[in-house]
């Protein structure tokens, strides 16, 4: 019933507006078309002029509304550069935006048709064309220069001491593989994938795999101020590792390994204080439509100190051990190599 009333109301509003439109047409004819036209033109010129200050006010309000609700300070060096470049681009574009829009709506008002006015025949002027070809070209050259500097910085090869971690997407979650004590990720083969006991398709004939650790809840643990390099992959369709707090993003494509690296500079705990949000967490958002669960394909990045990281790592079981409890050495002995890997990490540092 309520649906019917809504529908009837909408139709009614339409009929009313339509009738107003029609009536204004007839009344225009009765009152003298030229006179009405001139009057309408004046009203519209004022309305168009008003659009500009109204728009500026709207932008102001919108800025105020989003103030403090956007992302906190970038949590890596390249991210900080990113924000600075973004601001510079915004300054350049902002000037152009307000100038051109302001002039556009001002001209609408200034040059509205009147009885007295005749238009000025002004068909071309090469100097002007040259002027507004070169100025944008120079501005673009500047933006390209800053852009490419940052682009090559972000896409440069990772430093050799970077921790290498593999991130694999699947419908609809992230799996993270850590190399374990030997610091080397073993071989994979998608034909060996098995949801029961080999989610990433590790090749057990490769001894490097035996100590690899797979975290299936999408938690990516990284050490603050230490470069981390992600090897990104997908098991089924294209996903994308989106790291908004690090201003980073990279597609996960089946059959192709992509990489990205960064140096996290702010731990999750510090960020909780910076944002004054006790629930703050760095999130990994899937940024490439991957199916019905795309919106829930969430991972997290836990940036922690070396000590916290080591402690966490020590509590992890190798993927092999967790799936082969019978063949794996007893719990005690699994802990022993863990301690080893711990030492190794420390010495590496």
């Amino acid at each position: 019933m309520s649906a019917f009333i809504t529908f009837a109301l909408v139709v009614l509003v339409f009929i009313v507006i339509y009738q107003i439109g029609k009536a204004s047409e007839y009344s225009g004819v009765i009152r003298g078309e030229e006179k009405v036209k001139a009057q309408t033109n004046r009203v519209l010129a004022v309305l168009l002029l008003l659009l500009f200050p109204l728009g500026c006010w709207g932008i102001w309000e919108c800025n105020a509304m989003f103030e403090g609700r956007l992302l906190p300070v970038a949590a890596c060096r390249t991210g900080v550069n990113y924000d600075s470049m973004f601001m510079w681009t915004t300054r350049v574009c902002g000037v152009v935006f307000f100038l051109t829009q302001g002039i556009l709506f001002w001209f609408c008002f200034k040059y509205q048709s009147t009885d007295k006015r005749t238009s000025f025949f002004f068909a071309h002027n090469n100097k002007l064309e040259l002027l507004w070809t070169t100025i944008p070209a120079i501005a673009m050259a500047g933006l390209v220069a800053i852009g490419l500097k940052n682009w090559y910085d972000v896409t440069s090869p990772a430093p050799p001491d970077a921790t290498v971690v593999e991130v694999m997407g699947k419908q609809f979650n992230w799996m993270v593989r850590y190399p374990g004590k030997d610091n080397e990720l073993g071989k994979r083969d998608f034909r060996k994938i098995n949801d029961a006991n080999n989610v990433m398709g590790l090749d057990w004939s490769d001894p490097h795999n035996m100590d690899d650790i797979i975290v299936q809840n999408g938690e990516l643990h990284v050490v603050v101020n230490k470069p981390v390099k992600l090897l990104i992959n997908s098991r089924d369709v294209i996903h994308d590792v989106g790291l908004p707090h690090f201003r980073m993003k990279m597609d996960a494509v089946p059959g192709i390994t992509t990489t990205l690296w960064f140096i996290p500079t702010i731990t999750t705990d510090s960020m909780k204080q910076i944002t004054k949000n006790p629930d703050f967490v760095y999130e990994i958002a899937c940024d490439q439509l991957c199916g019905k669960g795309h919106y829930s394909m969430r991972g997290t990045v836990i940036v922690q100190t070396q000590a916290e990281y080591d402690k966490w790592m020590a509590g992890q079981q190798t993927y092999y051990a967790s799936n082969n409890p019978s063949t794996a050495p007893a719990t005690d002995s699994t802990k022993a190599p863990k301690a080893d890997s711990l030492k190794k990490e420390v010495t590496m540092k």
Partner: protein, 607 residues
């Protein structure tokens, strides 16, 4: 009677004038309804067919956006009315995620291809090219008719896909494989996807038939005196639109065909090392990225296919209603050439985060940002066109001014996204959604509205209602900014596009209020568009009649035809052209313009 024969020999080029007068005597007998309005070969009727089909598609596409905006704006509410429309897909009044994605996909597909490509180019290229270059019809009226009917067939397939059991395609309008290639990956990758691909294949055929016709007509069928540099900018824009389409749509076609092979014939063009649905697939060696290259090789020119007609029409409308020549006619043509050439070499800026070579990426950055130069030239020329003009604010003029404003706003955000370093973070966020909706969605629509209000008198011999036009303009213009401006901020905050629900995300859940606001605005703007539709259809029969041949006082050729032009457009000979199309100056008889058909006065220099 044989209708085809008459039309094919009617609009002849070389001896067009004589031939037309010759057969005028026996052409007046009434055609059967079917030949006159359905299987018509007359460019004016075909233009109307494209327009009406486009409007129907636009309503469907826009309605879909209202449906999924309800989910985004009010994820915790139910809307029983949705169940009435969508049945099982919205059980209990809440969209299922699968169908949410199907709606998003179809919204994009419908508006990009069926409305803003076929509906826009199909309508105005067909209507304006023969009129403005002085031809009796298209180069091949029969191919022109086929172009519409292939579009119609594509429409049927696409429409039918809405009703299949597994739902229509749901992999986004870009339909990236493997998601779109594997039935196991998503419900929408079932029969719906096959229909989508076949529909697109037919659509490409339609676009090619149309495009070849437009190019041929412009190059070969201009009337006497109509040199290329005396053509209105609309024709120039439509020419380059057609060139873009003819050269890039075949690449999409190949991409689509390979995808059909991968889906149905077991090939591995796009597939490699995939484990899905509990088993490893045999495909090895394909590249999912290859599809993206093929898709965007069309996909990027496509945005200019959408933009250029609007640019051309806005130029024409701004000039006419400012009573002032377009500023920098040649600069406008050169910038169109620049945009057209660059359009082919920037496609990979959609793929900066696919892991492409950084060096390759930098080349695409450079080429992409170069487009800002011709675009800036156009904007400054439009602004200079209205400078010291004598502006008449009727609906076409308002929409043309709105077009310029939106083009500036959307163009500037393109500078962010074209710069790969900035694109990394903004890629696939709401910033992108805001950018392309403003620049190629709303702005292109504004160009289309400007054209519709401006040439409606030529199409139907009546005016559209002005008051409704004004209401339509202000709601749409303000509404569009209210919808898309806040989206930029959400994108800067990293909020990904194509999410069904943000409530589980610590980083994005606080934008719920903004999302609700956007949804409410989108619904209001949707109803304002219905106002336009009502205005359009009632004005066809009830609108104020046009009483003079040239109601806007425009120098171009279409206004020298009778108010309701018949077959062949001009009674008698096609007029000869003596001057450029923007001679808005005193003609010595109290008019502020000189038609193209007026010979140069003694001592007067041509433009």
């Amino acid at each position: 009677m044989n209708n085809g024969e008459i039309i094919i020999e009617g609009p002849n080029v070389a001896h067009g004038a004589e031939a037309a007068t010759d057969h005028h005597g026996h052409e007046h007998h009434e055609q059967h309804f079917v030949w006159k309005y359905i299987f018509s070969q007359d460019h004016k009727i075909i233009s109307r067919q494209f327009m009406v089909t486009g409007i129907i598609w636009a309503i469907i596409g826009a309605l879909f956006s209202v449906f999924f905006r309800l989910q985004l704006g009010f994820p915790d509410s139910t809307f029983p009315i949705l169940e009435k429309f969508l049945g099982e897909w919205a059980k209990g009044g809440k969209l299922s995620p699968e169908f949410y994605y199907a709606l998003v996909t179809m919204h994009g597909t419908i508006l990009v291809f069926f409305v803003l490509t076929a509906g826009l180019s199909g309508t105005f290229a067909n209507l304006l090219i023969p009129f403005q270059v002085g031809a009796r019809d298209m180069a091949s009226p029969f191919m022109n008719m086929l172009s519409y009917w292939f579009f119609f067939a594509a429409s049927i397939l696409m429409f039918a896909s809405l009703f299949v059991e597994t739902g229509p395609a749901s992999g986004g309008w870009t339909t990236y494989p493997p998601l779109s290639a594997l039935k196991e990956a998503s419900l929408g990758s079932g029969v719906g996807m096959d229909l989508w691909l076949l529909g697109m294949a037919l659509f490409v055929v339609s676009s090619l038939l149309g495009g070849l016709n437009y190019i041929t007509t412009i190059l070969n069928m201009r009337t006497k005196g109509m040199t290329m540099t005396r053509m209105p900018l609309t024709c120039w824009a439509l020419l380059f639109t057609a060139v873009l389409g003819v050269l890039s749509f075949p690449v999409l076609f190949s991409g689509v065909v390979l995808l059909i092979f991968d889906r149905n014939l077991g090939t591995s063009f796009y597939l490699s090392e995939i484990f899905i649905g509990g088993k490893a697939l045999p495909h090895i060696g394909g590249s999912a990225i290859l599809y993206q290259h093929l898709f965007w090789f069309l996909g990027h020119p496509e945005v200019y296919i959408i933009m250029l007609p609007g640019m051309g029409m806005a130029s024409e409308v701004l000039s006419t209603h400012s009573r002032k020549p377009i500023f920098g006619y040649f600069a406008m043509i050169i910038s169109l050439v620049g945009i057209t050439l660059l359009a082919f070499v920037v496609w990979a800026h959609h793929m900066f985060v696919t892991g492409m070579s950084p060096f390759l990426g930098s080349i695409f950055v450079l080429l992409t940002l170069l487009i800002a130069v011709p675009s800036a030239v156009k904007v400054f020329n439009w602004i200079t066109t209205i400078w010291r003009g004598n502006l008449r604010f009727n609906p076409p003029m308002l929409f043309a001014l709105g077009f310029v404003s939106l083009f500036i706003s959307g163009g500037l955000t393109g500078i962010y996204l074209g710069n790969s370093a900035i694109d990394i973070h903004l890629h696939d966020t709401y910033f992108v959604v805001a950018h392309f909706h403003i620049v190629m969605g709303v702005s292109a629509f504004f160009g289309m509205f400007a054209g519709t209000y401006h040439w409606f008198p030529k199409m139907f011999g009546r005016f559209m209602n002005n008051t409704l036009g004004y209401i339509h303009f202000f709601i749409t213009f303000v509404g569009a900014y209210l919808i898309f401006w806040p989206m930029h901020y959400e994108g800067i905050a990293g909020m990904p596009r194509r999410y069904y629900d943000y409530s589980a995300w610590e980083s994005f859940k606080h934008f719920q209020g903004v999302n609700s606001f956007i949804s409410i605005m989108a619904t209001i703007v949707f109803f304002a568009q219905l106002l336009f539709v009502v205005n359009f259809f009632t004005s066809i029969w009830r609108g104020r009649k046009v009483t003079v041949k040239n109601p806007w006082g425009s120098p171009t050729l279409e206004w020298t035809t009778p108010i309701n032009p018949g077959h062949g457009n001009w009674e008698g000979e096609i007029p000869e052209v003596y001057r450029w199309p923007y001679d808005y100056k005193d003609d010595g008889h109290g008019n502020d313009f000189i038609p193209q058909t007026t010979p140069l006065r003694p001592g007067e220099e041509s433009h």
